[in-house]
């Protein structure tokens, strides 16, 4: 009795100590996740990165200045001139509202942080939250140890860091946290069957819908999992409680967000949730009737139900197919269709195809982005199968689906990252479990009969692997091959055991060596993550650096150009540029733009594309019709900046050609390739983009040699007739041109008339010369 009480007390103490240690580890993980994302602030400055974050920053500024009601009803007339954009109804408000409320909270506590600082540091804070959410999710799937490992892995996985560094103020910063949280609440409801967590699940889903368009992933993955559970015979009432309230409450909450609105019940992306809703009710009914009837009567009921049900089903499906087939895209949006059919975008929607984030990833990118996790994931899948529960089947499905989508679009590697981290956390934790248990067993000298028998069986297998382990070098790939063998051995041995769960025990030396190797694997992972973050993912894209023999050279041309625009033009002047720079111009230069990164109006973008692809006079006409005063062009030929407007010219021509048939891509190609040198076609040499990029380029030190295309340009000396150069930045990266005003028009010529001419000749002359309507 005393011994048992003592043992209980000792285990309680150990549990308490473990709990405190766990909390401390989580705190450290959070701090680490925050700190690793600060490289961009240290190496450059606390500035908002890239393009999309500038729009979010501008919206947040508007929110903090004007309050929520003005933000909700905001119609922005400074973009997409002359169309404007109803921002309140077309933006995902989650990120803006989150940052806005953090700023408001801090300011009401008299901590005067500027809006920019709050925006820059939103992403690192929420990545710490995402790591903690991963801990909770994995704890539900496997246990606390796996949870801590998965949280540590997510804190540093490069693919998540790439979209959530300090300064990357984009939707994904908050959305990934919401995604993991929603999945955690779903799995928690599935495990516990409590309606309280179902409510929290719906609210977390609402937060996800507010934050990112990728919420359709959740509302399709969860129904798929429910269907999987039903089909594999794992239907239970907890599944019903986890799914049915989510559908109803989730649909309602999603409809509240103005961007989504009625799309929740009209577009095909949500239909799977309703279909599975109907299916789960039918299955629940069947199980209920099975419960209250005797087996014979149940058979009768089934035959009756099947005959009636089939006819009803066919009728409903016929109506459904008719209504869906009547819409040209079968009810799917362009982006979703391009995910399902990867070739769709390149055939029909050039704009979606032209975004670099929408290209498929290359194989090395997987190893850069999720590194060691790439081969820990299969081990995790096997570990999830060893006791297959609802939660682990969900994780397997999540991983499979996200792995497929990450192969379609680079941007979706981000959705794969949490799944990979959870799986790898499970695998590593299981591995550590086996080896530390072996050491503890041997050290504690607790030998039962079964475990001795087990030892004999496992010793035979492990002797073979002991030889392998002694010859193995410290290479992660080889080490993991051995570890996978261990996992297979675990599976084989546990399947051989007959009475209950026998635990595998390995020799102590093997365990110690393998634990050290696992820690080394973790070290490689951490080293890679920190290196990748520091070198590859911390650049703000608005300031560039290069190390020349003379030292560090900083290219701050973008901000120089926007500042010039802000100080030297009127507030109401319109600036035309390619859509990439629209957000930055409105946010930093505060001028009205024609097209921006939202790309919601393809025809408007095609108009701008047609203008830059046409000769000067035609381009001037188009720009004048849009009230444009300044044209902004990005040119990298002097310094070797590779992604300038001449590089994107392919897409400008294609997009314009999609709407205006007189722009033919063939006119710009010579032998199927774009040239800007002497081989270029005349159309290319006369188009506005060429002229605005290379005007006076011969006068620079490069003397007409384009460093990006590595050729001398074709047409070196030319004058601009309809545009004049307004400003060129220090490294010629941004060039701003002004539209010349039209010349004063004089209709016809005034000729000298002698008074001796006859009236008839005067009359004929009057009829022959063109009448001047202004006189």
């Amino acid at each position: 009795m005393m011994a048992i009480a003592e043992a209980k007390g000792a285990s309680a103490l150990r549990n308490a100590f473990g709990g405190i240690l766990g909390v401390f580890i989580l705190l450290l993980i959070g701090i680490f996740a925050f700190s690793i994302r600060l490289f961009s602030v240290i190496k450059y400055e606390s500035v908002i990165h890239e393009f999309d974050p500038y729009f979010n920053y501008r919206v947040t500024q508007y929110l903090t200045n004007n309050g929520i009601y003005d933000f909700w009803n905001w119609f922005d007339d400074r973009t997409w001139y002359p169309l404007g954009r109803a921002i309140g109804g077309t933006v995902y408000p989650g990120l803006t509202l989150t940052a806005g409320s953090m700023w408001w909270l801090l300011n009401s506590l008299n901590i005067p942080l500027s809006v920019e600082t709050v925006c820059v540091f939103t992403a690192p804070i929420f990545s710490a939250n995402a790591a903690w959410a991963t801990y909770l999710l994995t704890k539900e799937v496997k246990g606390t140890g796996a949870g801590l490992t998965a949280a540590a892995l997510l804190a540093m996985v490069p693919s998540y860091i790439s979209r959530s560094v300090a300064g990357s103020y984009d939707n994904e910063a908050v959305a990934i946290f919401a995604l993991i949280l929603t999945f955690y609440f779903y799995v928690k409801t599935l495990n516990s069957g409590s309606l309280f967590y179902a409510t929290l699940n719906a609210l977390s889903y609402f937060y996800m819908v507010c934050s990112w368009g990728g919420y359709t992933f959740i509302i399709n993955l969860i129904p798929m999992h429910v269907l999987l559970c039903i089909v594999t015979g794992r239907y239970s009432s907890r599944l019903y409680i986890a799914y049915a309230p989510l559908v109803v409450l989730g649909t309602l909450l999603a409809s509240l967000v103005p961007v989504v609105g009625f799309n929740t019940v009209m577009t095909s992306e949500h239909f799977s949730s309703f279909l599975v809703f109907v299916i789960i009710h039918m299955v629940a009914l069947v199980y209920y009737i099975k419960g209250i009837l005797s087996p014979k009567m149940f058979k009768v009921a089934m035959t009756l139900a099947v005959t009636i049900g089939l006819t009803v089903c066919c009728a409903v499906i016929a109506i459904f197919i008719a209504s869906v087939a009547s819409s040209p895209t079968k009810g799917w949006s362009g982006r979703s269709l391009s995910l399902l059919d990867p070739t769709y975008a390149s055939k029909y929607i050039p704009i979606i195809a032209s975004v670099s984030e929408h290209q498929p990833p290359t194989w090395p990118l997987y190893f850069v982005d999720i590194n060691v996790l790439a081969f820990l994931v299969p081990a995790g899948i096997i570990a999830c199968f060893s006791p297959l529960s609802d939660a682990s089947s969900f994780m397997i499905l999540y991983l499979a689906i996200s792995a497929y989508f990450s192969g379609v679009m680079v941007r979706l590697m981000l959705v794969l990252a949490p799944a990979a981290c959870v799986m790898s956390g499970i695998a590593l934790s299981e591995a550590f479990d086996v080896f530390t248990r072996s050491i503890k067993f041997q050290a504690g000298d607790i030998n039962s009969e079964s475990s001795i028998a087990q030892n004999d069986v496992s010793n035979v297998d492990s002797n073979a692997t002991t030889d392998k382990s002694e010859t193995v070098s410290k290479e992660p790939s080889r080490k993991n091959h051995e570890k996978e063998k261990e996992q297979e051995i675990v599976k084989k041995v546990t399947s051989k055991s007959q009475n209950g769960k026998k635990l595998l025990v390995l020799p102590q030396e093997v365990s110690a060596v393998v634990i050290l190797l696992l820690i080394a694997l973790g070290g490689f992972y951490v080293g890679h993550c920190v290196w990748t973050t520091a070198t590859a993912y911390s650049a703000p894209a608005i300031v560039l650096k290069s190390y020349t023999p003379d030292g560090l050279r900083v290219f701050d041309d973008f901000r120089e150009a926007y500042a010039w625009l802000q100080h030297n033009t009127d507030v109401d002047d319109k600036v035309a540029s390619w859509w990439d720079y629209g957000y930055q111009i409105t946010a930093m230069a505060n001028r009205t733009v024609i097209v921006d990164n939202n790309t919601w109006n393809n025809t408007h973008i095609a108009t701008v594309g047609a203008a830059v692809s046409s000769p000067e006079k035609a381009a001037w006409e188009i720009f004048n019709s849009l009230d444009v005063k300044y044209v902004l062009v990005v040119f990298g030929g002097l310094v070797g900046y590779p992604s300038d407007d001449i590089d994107k010219f392919i897409w400008m021509v294609r997009i314009a050609g999609g709407v205006f048939p007189h722009i033919r891509e063939q006119d710009y190609l010579r032998d199927g390739r774009y040239h800007i040198d002497a081989h270029a076609t005349p159309t290319m040499l006369n188009c506005l983009m060429y002229k605005l990029s290379y005007y006076r380029f011969v006068e620079t030190e490069a003397e007409g040699f384009d460093k990006v295309r590595r050729t001398e340009i074709g047409n070196k000396k030319f004058e601009l007739t309809h545009f004049e150069e307004a400003f060129t930045t220090e490294h010629w990266m941004v060039r701003i041109y002004k539209l010349k005003l039209p010349k004063n028009r004089i209709q016809g010529k005034l000729k000298n008339k002698s008074s001796s001419e006859t009236y008839s000749s005067n009359q004929t002359r009057a009829r022959n010369t063109r009448r001047n309507p202004w006189q």
Partner: protein
């Protein structure tokens, strides 16, 4: 063939009726509530068919509130049912409290969306 089917159907309905009569009263009350909610939803859909769906958000919120309370009542019934092995150590007060909370959130959203 048809005769045996109809007689089978009659036997089926009789056995269903006797089996259902054996359920406790509190569950029957919940079932009645579910039926009431579904009937209200059907009435709303028929009304929409007659009158047209102009304030679509009102229609959606009305139908989904009915369906939502029906679903939540079914969840309550599952948790309170004594024959359900999975929930035998869940006190019915907790189940009822969860039901109230979820209904509160649902109706808050409905009120907001009703327009």
């Amino acid at each position: 063939m048809a005769k045996s089917t109809s007689s089978d159907a009659q036997m089926l309905i009789r056995s269903l009726r006797t089996a259902y009569a054996a359920t406790p009263t509190n569950l029957k009350i919940i079932d009645l509530y579910v039926v009431y909610a579904i009937v209200t939803a059907v009435i709303q859909v028929v009304y929409m068919g007659v009158v047209g769906s102009f304030p679509f958000n009102s229609f959606l919120s009305g139908v989904l509130s009915c369906v939502g309370t029906a679903v939540l009542a079914v969840c309550l019934r599952i948790q309170v049912n004594k024959e359900n092995k999975e929930f035998k150590d869940l006190p019915p007060e907790r189940a009822y409290a969860d039901f109230i909370l979820c209904n509160l959130v649902l109706h808050l959203v409905i009120m907001n969306f009703l327009g």
